[in-house]
Amino acid sequence: MTFWVIMNWVAYASSALIFGWLIKDFINIEKNYDEKILLAMEDWDKNMEDCDKKGG
């Protein structure tokens, strides 16, 4: 196997690693986005309850 053939595979492997990182980070962010929305909704519900109690 020549040096250049090895370089082809190095390029493939490097691409796979980078794409893998991108996908992993993307999935991680999407999960957190759901969490933040849920947290915001919980805060909103609590604020609404407090507001109702105060008669506002």
Binding site: W4, A11, S15, I18, L22, N32, A40, W44
Partner: protein
């Protein structure tokens, strides 16, 4: 105000703004970086269509088109401080359907250019050794550049400035490598290698579309508007100095390539400047142009990913396409969903290996935008006369730039029909079907209340 709107507003305020970090240098890099690759590949198909002289006529005619375009683009762009460039202009001046189409055209213009860039990187690397394949390096180039854009625009464009500058310098290395300044020792052989006008004026018109390749994408400077520290200064300074850079580079490119490579071979080459360097037989010059071609392709692809993703992001934020694409990465502050979504599109076109076809679709999309830009300039001056709204730059000699832009664009479309009528027809059908989808399905989801930002003043007469 319902619960969902409050949540969206809270999340928007905390996380959703693109960072304002760009200066004139970055705008120059964003514009020239995308475009400089046109000196290293693609323009030479104009030689196949119109001959050597046809190519230089196309170069200058399209230079005039782009000077007009940049003036118009800069005036309107200096007033609209939003990511999206011509898309944002269409939004304010023409309405949702036109904005949808312009956004789509910008996305495909840059996505196809990006595909062409990485295709050339793969092909030129193959010249090193027969065992090298182009596909792994196409994938590597795309993955690295997508990663850079995903992580953040400031660092990305700073890198772009450096590699663009290096690539530009290599054009001068080739020029001086030919010893053009020594009549007795010059390597240039224009008399032997040029063709004149083998196809007459029809060939010149057919060559126009590839003359565009010297400059296509310089209008992308407007896409950095939202991220400028000072839009009124950075945008005009960066865009117009970019145009000067490109016209000089285009002329030198044609002069050297036409004098070093036979016109038939030049008209078919994937990397014309590199072929010109090979003809010098000077190892340093060959190495410089090898590096310059690759760097210019990478610089262009960086800018294309930035521009196409920001156009897609803007369309999502305006609900012209599903809002999901408008997500901003909480850490890197980049339109990460748009970046990831557009990647497979470029990849699939890059796989085809058909450089002139990919380029043609990019050019076609750009030409449609330019037609609308010419019309928008008339409308902009009518809606917002001088002194009615603060402008960072005033385009001189209106309406002549708009007339020149419209005229040359329409002639170029005629020329494109001569050589690529199937591509032209396919492109028109694509945008027609996309428009039908928008009108029949998507329009009911468009939030017309948030479409125009509140700080935009009412036009004249409204």
């Amino acid at each position: 105000m319902n619960k969902d709107m409050v949540i969206n507003e809270v999340i928007e305020k905390k996380e959703s703004h693109l960072s304002k970090v760009l200066g004139p240098m970055h705008i120059w890099a964003l514009g020239v970086g995308i475009v400089l690759v046109g000196e290293f590949m693609g323009w030479n198909f104009a030689v196949a269509k119109g001959g050597s002289l046809g190519a230089i006529i196309a170069c200058w005619a399209m230079g005039l088109l782009y000077v007009s375009l940049v003036m118009i683009n800069t005036e309107i762009g200096s007033v609209i401080p939003e990511a999206g460039g011509q898309y944002a202009m269409a939004k304010y001046l023409l309405g949702p359907l036109a904005a949808f189409n312009v956004g789509l055209m910008i996305v495909f213009q840059y996505a196809m250019l990006q595909a062409a860039d990485v295709l050339v990187v793969g092909e030129i690397l193959r010249t090193l050794h027969p065992d090298i394949q182009s596909l792994p390096f196409i994938l590597l180039a795309l993955s690295v550049l997508t990663f850079l854009n995903y992580r953040g625009i400031h660092a990305t464009l700073t890198v772009n400035f450096v590699i663009t500058a290096i690539a530009y310098v290599t054009i001068f290395i080739l020029l001086f490598g030919t010893k053009f300044y020594l009549p007795g020792a010059s390597l240039l052989r224009h008399g032997e290698l040029m063709s004149g006008l083998p196809y007459g004026w029809v060939g010149i018109v057919a060559a126009f579309q590839f003359g565009i390749w010297f400059y296509l994408g310089i209008e992308g400077t407007a896409l950095g508007a939202e991220e400028c520290r000072s839009t009124g200064r950075s945008l005009p300074l960066g865009a117009l100095t970019g145009m000067v850079t490109l016209i000089i580079g285009a002329t030198i490119t044609w002069y050297v390539a036409s004098g070093m490579v036979d016109w038939v071979k030049l008209g078919q080459s994937v990397y014309p400047l590199y072929d010109a360097a090979l003809a010098t037989k000077i190892p340093f010059v060959i190495g410089a142009l090898f590096v310059g071609t690759i760097l210019s392709c990478l610089a262009s692809a960086i800018g294309c990913i930035a521009d196409s993703s920001r156009a897609w992001f803007s369309m999502a934020r305006d609900t012209l396409i599903p809002n999901w694409f408008g997500g901003i990465h909480p850490k890197y502050k980049t339109p990460y969903r748009a970046i990831i979504f557009l990647l497979p599109i470029s990849l699939s076109f890059g796989f085809t290996g058909l450089l002139d076809q990919v380029i043609t679709f990019s050019i076609f999309s750009g030409l449609l935008v330019y037609v609308l830009m010419g019309y928008m300039m008339f409308k902009f001056r009518k809606m917002y006369p001088l002194d009615s709204i603060k402008r960072g730059y005033v385009s001189p000699w209106h309406p002549y730039p708009a007339i020149v832009l419209l005229g040359l664009t329409l002639v170029t479309l005629v020329g494109m029909y001569l050589g690529y009528w199937i591509n032209l027809l396919s492109g028109f059908l694509f945008y027609i079907f996309a428009s039908m989808w928008f009108v029949l399905h998507r329009y009911k989801y468009v939030d017309t209340n948030s479409f125009i930002k509140k700080r935009w003043p009412r036009p004249n007469g409204y």
